[in-house]
């Protein structure tokens, strides 16, 4: 962490300056929204870069996961605002399932904490049973969630937002896991087409969502989701995404993910379970899409299915290719450039606004002609740059090579 202090200070200063500009209304809501849109697009596109740029799987499904995240998260906060705790109870149930999974999969402290959580949940359930006379675990979960209402309004809103974002991201990841199991076997263009189909299916489902979830209002668009995603949350989640991506990619797991892109046969010959790492990259990428979708749903008052049309699924693709496949820096820079220029072009002189549909494609054409590898190619800046190791030239002895292999 020590050598990166300049970047940490820079990021914090950037955040504080923008926050102050927003707080003192020096920055219009319009431009604040554009900055937030850039952050949200950066998160979706980073997810796609993990799938396409780093893992080499061409996917057009990112926008479908974005939609799933948006609707799943919006439903939680919408219900909460209406005084319905069912949404939160589902989130809590999902969390407890996750803890059960953790207890089985981990050891040591983590496992003990997990058992503690499950144990106290069970005790709480018994107490709830005795007090209310209802043995139903569902009513127990709903009543636990009702505790949120006793918190001050400003605090409870943030807690509910985090729960909703968590749920949106998890829902997208869960769907992508099931989808990936089946689709990733195809690879190449087939995978791209299949995921495009997925995005179209999700859009149609959103159009007709009201037949199952009336509050989603189907093709009329869902309104009334509380607008809780502030600049603080969008920027924080972008930073979290960037750090998670960086740490993941600079690890052995990241090298395994990248090796699949480089040569699948060679990766297999190196003992890497390529199917597993394709699924992993796909699930993590979709998780980011779901997270971004949740943020989107809490930033724009109307959630309309037309926002999830498959044509829009090319936006993250454009950003990823424009910034450079396999570059985190490139994706973040391109997202901001994309949001600011596309919206900024609206400020063209009166009567010229429509020219943005000429200028924007021209920019894309020129960049692809002059710099086909994207703005950054595979390069990174500063904190995101690959770690370098001092050279060392002592050959291993026959014995020592085997020692570390535990």
């Amino acid at each position: 962490m020590g050598e990166h202090w300049k970047w940490i200070v820079g990021v914090v200063v950037f955040f504080v300056v923008v926050q102050l500009l927003i707080s003192f209304r020096a920055l219009t809501t319009y431009w604040a929204t554009i900055l937030q849109k850039a952050c949200i697009m950066a998160i979706v596109s980073l997810g796609l870069n993990l799938i396409y740029g780093f893992n080499g799987q061409f996917s057009l499904g990112q926008w479908g996961f974005y939609a799933i995240g948006a609707y799943a998260a919006a439903d939680i906060t919408y219900r909460w605002k209406q005084g319905d705790m069912a949404g939160l109870a589902v989130v809590l149930g999902a969390l407890l399932l996750g803890v059960v999974f953790l207890v089985f999969r981990s050891r040591g402290t983590v496992q003990r904490i997990g058992i503690g959580i499950l144990g106290s949940t069970a005790v709480g359930w018994v107490v709830h049973w005795v007090v209310t006379g209802s043995a139903s675990p569902w009513s127990y979960l709903v009543d636990v969630c009702a505790v949120v209402t006793y918190l001050p309004q400003s605090v409870s809103a943030q807690v509910v937002l985090l729960a909703a974002l968590f749920f949106g991201a998890t829902a997208a990841a869960a769907v992508s896991y099931l989808l990936g199991l089946r689709l990733l076997k195809m690879g190449g263009d087939y995978f791209g087409i299949a995921t495009l189909g997925f995005t179209m299916v999700v859009k149609v489902l959103a159009d007709n969502a009201d037949s199952v979830f009336p509050e989603m209002k189907g093709a009329r668009g869902m309104v009334g989701t509380p607008q809780l995603a502030s600049w603080f949350w969008t920027f924080l989640f972008l930073m979290v995404t960037v750090v998670v991506m960086r740490n993941l990619l600079q690890s052995s797991t990241g090298r395994a993910i990248i090796s699949v892109r480089e040569s699948e046969v060679a990766a297999k010959a190196m003992g890497i379970d390529t199917a597993r790492y394709k699924t992993l990259a796909f699930v993590i990428g979709s998780l980011f899409a779901g997270l971004a979708g949740g943020l989107y749903a809490h930033r724009y008052p109307t959630l309309h299915p037309s926002a999830f049309h498959f044509v829009k699924s090319f936006d993250p693709l454009i950003i990823v290719v424009f910034g450079g496949l396999g570059s985190i820096t490139g994706t973040v820079v391109a997202s901001f450039a994309w949001a600011i220029s596309l919206e900024g072009l609206r400020l063209l002189p009166r009567g010229m606004e429509l020219w943005r549909y000429v200028i924007y494609p021209l920019i894309l054409l020129l960049v692809m002609l002059l710099r086909p590898q994207g703005l950054f190619g595979g390069a990174e800046l500063g904190f995101l740059r690959r770690r370098t190791w001092p050279r060392r030239d002592v050959a291993p002895q026959a014995g020592t090579a085997q020692d570390g292999g535990d």
Binding site: V244, N247, L248, Q250, S251, S252, T253, G254, R255, A256, I258, S259, E262, S263, V265, A266, A267, K268, A269, M270, G271, I272, D273, T274, L280, G326, G378, R386, T388, W389, R391, R392, D393, V394, A395, P396, Q397, A398, T400, A401, Q402, G404, G405, D406
Partner: protein, 289 residues
Amino acid sequence: MPPRLGRRRMAGTEAVSTGVDRMPVLRTEGLTKFFGGLCAVRDFDIEVPEGALHGLIGPNGAGKTTVFNMVTGLYAATEGEVQFMGQPILGLEPHWITQLGIARTFQNIRIFPNLTVLDNVRIAYHPRAGYTVFDAILHTERFERREREITEQAQGFLAVFGLEGLQDEIASSLPYGQQRRLEIARALAAEPKLLLLDEPAAGMNPQETYELMDLIHFVRDQFKLTILLIEHQMRVVMGICEWITVMDFGEIIARGTPREIQSNLRVIEAYLGKRSVIGRRTATFVQEA
């Protein structure tokens, strides 16, 4: 023929005489592969004892690489059996076979072209990374320790192959010979018991070839490996292998020590055609080899 080759062959034959009763690291029985109606490999039986440097030769298209692909699980065999250290491995996923202890290189180099030389080798440590995704994301102490260990060991393998100064270079920017060595270094970093080398000297000039053969010998002794090597240049295998299996049109046509193979008429026929068996060209061939 350079004198160095002759000396090495002598050392090789000694190793064979002491190693008759060693346990087979690799054993195949009746290994057969059909591509549609085409029989690429038929009834391939081989036994590679521990510590051997075994050559698999034959003209182009004889089915040598198909054998490698079946042993490493990339191709499903039509028939037959493969045992590694006494354990049947046919039908296992390729990554499992590697993790059991068989590493390989490819005839047309398959390094990870856009990664650095160091990362190419470090990938081989993935099955033994010893930390989870969460360790990586949270940068735990275990992650730091294992990354340092993995890097140091990978650098060690680079040093064996004289690549230590190139660790931060992009792999595809290396000259051909160094890419071949990098591929072998990477295979070694997977810590195999059995190393399969598919034409390691392809495209190298004679000087590079001799150096590589020396290196393969050294590596076998240093890391206590068993090596099975494909080659179609006769002089390469004759120089370093202790035992040779010859294939032609998918079938084994001869086995023996290099000296026996050199004078085997079927081998000469496979390499040079029927007519060359008679007369003076046989003699020239044997000399060249």
